[in-house]
Amino acid sequence: MTEPAPILALDGITKTFPGVKALSDVSLSLFPGQVTALVGENGAGKSTVVKILTGIYQPTEGRILVDGAETRFPTAQAAADAGITAIHQETVLFDELSVAENIFLGHAPRGRFGLIDWPELMRKARALLDEIGAEIDPSHKLKDLGIANKHLVAIARALSIDARVVIMDEPTAALSHKEIQELYALVEQLKAQGKAILFISHKFDEIFRIADNFTVFRDGQFVGEGKIADVTNDTLVKMMVGRDVSHVFPDRTPVFGDTVLEVSGYDHPTEFADIAFSLKKGEILGFYGLVGAGRSELMQALFGITRPTRGEIRIDGQTTLIHSPADAVAAGIVYVPEDRGKQGAITALPIFQNVTLPSISRTSRRGFLRLAEEFKLAREYTERLDLRAASLDTNVENLSGGNQQKVVIAKWLATRPKVIILDEPTKGIDIGSKAAVHEFMAELAAEGLAVIMVSSEIPEVLGMSDRILVMREGRIVAEVSGDDRTPETLVRHAAGISEG
């Protein structure tokens, strides 16, 4: 065997959160000069591994080995000191600090008396940004940057630490084609320098292009590992999902009714422009796009969270003004947001209160609460979604991600809406719940509800939608239906590549 010894290895790592076992007995090895791809569905535990490797979480059980020696990373600093650096999935940076400082916070160059040497800091930051091909002024405040540039700053920060192990958690999700190419070149360069790279991505073409090894997780468990050269796309997907992908989505024969929602000439000063589309009863309309394409912003505007500069919304043919979510709910539009913890549920309140919150006027009398009515309504809708919980009086924060999502959906169904918008409805929820949500979406459409589904997962978009709109940089760039419905078309439109 010519296999070198791993620089970094995880052995039998388990990580539990209150109510969730995010990782259970997983292993992982990273080798010098090699790229290891970590693949798994949303919520498989990939980012949790990254956080354990970078000292942000402490494993509940198991060992971390650096050069074969057991180590602990009590803080992020400890991991950095051990030569491990990461580009995290979410950008964890400081809006109020300059770009240069974001890159070097914690290890800024020091001058006399150990004081921070600002000119040197700027110089080094500029050099780093140049190296990754980012045209960003290091003296700007981070808050003045767009999401893609922020991500480039995060990459620069990871590279500013002279590390032996570089972890990249979905680094290309927010980047444009050109920037992605530069990132690939960078990965090659790091490899050549003998660094070990952990690369997390949902894009298979990417994985097959740059990875040497792979490790697969499913539902927090280790499924397998090997050489990329030894597997095909299909086998990898099967390992990841645990069954054949084609059977996941419900079969449906859609029956469309009248048009319920028409949006035209919808503009926002900074987020989106020229939005026009319509939606029929019983239809599932998919919105695809890369992260940051502005889909969530558009949906939130329809729901009255943000105000567009102009445009018209018609519901059942009637022009409707929506200035607040309360207006939207009254008009029959509801929104299941992407960020469940912050926007979807009031997690510190019990399930039944969450479910009845927007329809409280129905369960109460003259403004006074009627608990019995509330429990009745909550029971009716949570049972339909097959919610698993200790009781309806349990706080939502104690539920698993999938069950939390069910509570949020139940709360909106209880308002008896006409249009339901689901933003990344299955993001980060386990496979069982995912299928349940899909099945339920189909059921709702069959009952005549109009459904808008925003999703970044190509199989989901293809499997569920009757029609797909693709957004890029705040505009609808294509409508895809019929035979065009291939992953390639979606990606091409979303990324703005003129031909496949």
């Binding site: 979510p325 009031i346 039944f352 200790a390």
Partner: protein, 328 residues
């Protein structure tokens, strides 16, 4: 979906059982302990009239504390309450000089309270400014106006009938203030715990973004809460002015922090989202009993405040220390 649905009970714990384990029960225990300690410490304590007098130590502050509790649960705070008292009292005093009668004075007191609350509410909800600094500003502004109007003067000459609010008795030892306190406690308890409005307050305090996304008109609710806090300050101004029989611009100095202390001691989370009116009621009694009990022993007020300050920290720290200690 599938029909083999799992049964999910409404509740695991009866509401009574939950209540027994609550903060309020703990606090009630403290109150009873203080009561017993006081009766042993001073022969003058167990006397209906004395106990009735003792309630004046906290009734006015507690009235504000009810509204403040709602405001803090919703994630905001109002530090200008004591200054609203000064402003409202000054306005009433000025009206007395113009010959306004008792009903007019009450209307003016309430009106000024509402207007001040609306001003705070406007700055916080419309201009989106953080309430803690807004109300530090209006705290100076409102009392400053009272100083401009009154300077080194005092207003007196309140009508005889006006004295009832702060000095009158409804029946035997039950003062008007005590009865008003009880009535307001019940009203606020119902509003917070039994109405849609109360539910919205909890939702907002726990997660303002989530509340907006749930179709709650968050700014409107918060504005209403500032109005209510202003109104309660107006009521407190009426009672206090009536009790003192005169108005000086320095009236009720420092009350804002006592009110906040009462609310926090009552188990309301300063970060918003949790707390109850019964808790605040008990906290009011606890603070009143401590002050009165130590007062009977002629302990200076500042020493009493050590007890209150220490209690404030201890009631939050001890449970945390206990869990930390048990984990090791």
């Amino acid at each position: 979906m599938n029909s083999t649905s799992h049964f999910v009970p409404d509740r695991l714990q009866s509401p009574l059982a939950r209540r027994l384990k609550s903060w309020e029960t703990l606090l009630l225990g403290v109150a009873v302990a203080i009561f017993i300690a006081n009766s042993f410490a001073s022969p003058y304590f167990l006397n209906a009239w004395n106990l009735s007098d003792a309630t004046f130590n906290f009734t006015e502050k507690a009235m504000i504390a009810f509204a403040m509790a709602l405001l803090i649960i919703s994630g905001e705070i109002d530090l200008s309450v004591a200054s609203i008292i000064a402003l409202a009292s000054t306005a009433m005093g000025a009206a007395v000089q113009l010959g306004v009668g008792t009903p007019g004075l009450v209307a003016i007191g309430l009106g000024v309270g509402l207007a001040a609350g609306a001003f705070n509410g406007f700055l916080v909800t419309r201009l989106g400014l953080p309430s803690i600094v807004v109300t530090i500003g209006t705290m100076s502004l409102f009392r400053g106006i009272a100083f401009i109007v009154l300077g080194d003067q005092a207003y007196r000459g309140y009508p005889e009938s006006f004295a009832y609010f702060g000095q009158g008795y409804v029946w035997w030892v039950l003062s008007f203030e005590l009865v008003l306190f009880a009535v307001l406690a019940v009203i606020y308890g119902i509003v917070l715990h039994k109405t849609n409005f109360g539910r919205a307050i909890y939702a907002i305090g726990n997660n303002p973004t989530g509340a907006v996304f749930s179709g709650i008109r968050v700014q409107r609710v918060k504005f209403t809460l500032f109005l209510l806090t202003g109104l309660m300050s107006g009521i407190a101004a009426i009672c206090l002015t009536s009790r003192l029989g005169s108005t000086r611009p320095s009236i009720a100095v420092g009350w804002e922090l006592e009110v906040v202390t009462m609310v926090v001691l009552g188990g309301v989370s300063i970060l918003g989202g949790s707390g109850s009116i019964p808790g605040v009621v008990i906290a009011a009694f606890v603070m009143g009993l401590v002050t009165f009990g130590l007062g009977l022993l002629n302990v200076p007020g500042i020493v009493m405040s050590i007890f209150i300050g220490a209690m404030l920290i201890a009631v939050i720290a001890l449970p945390r220390l206990w869990t930390m200690w048990r984990r090791h």
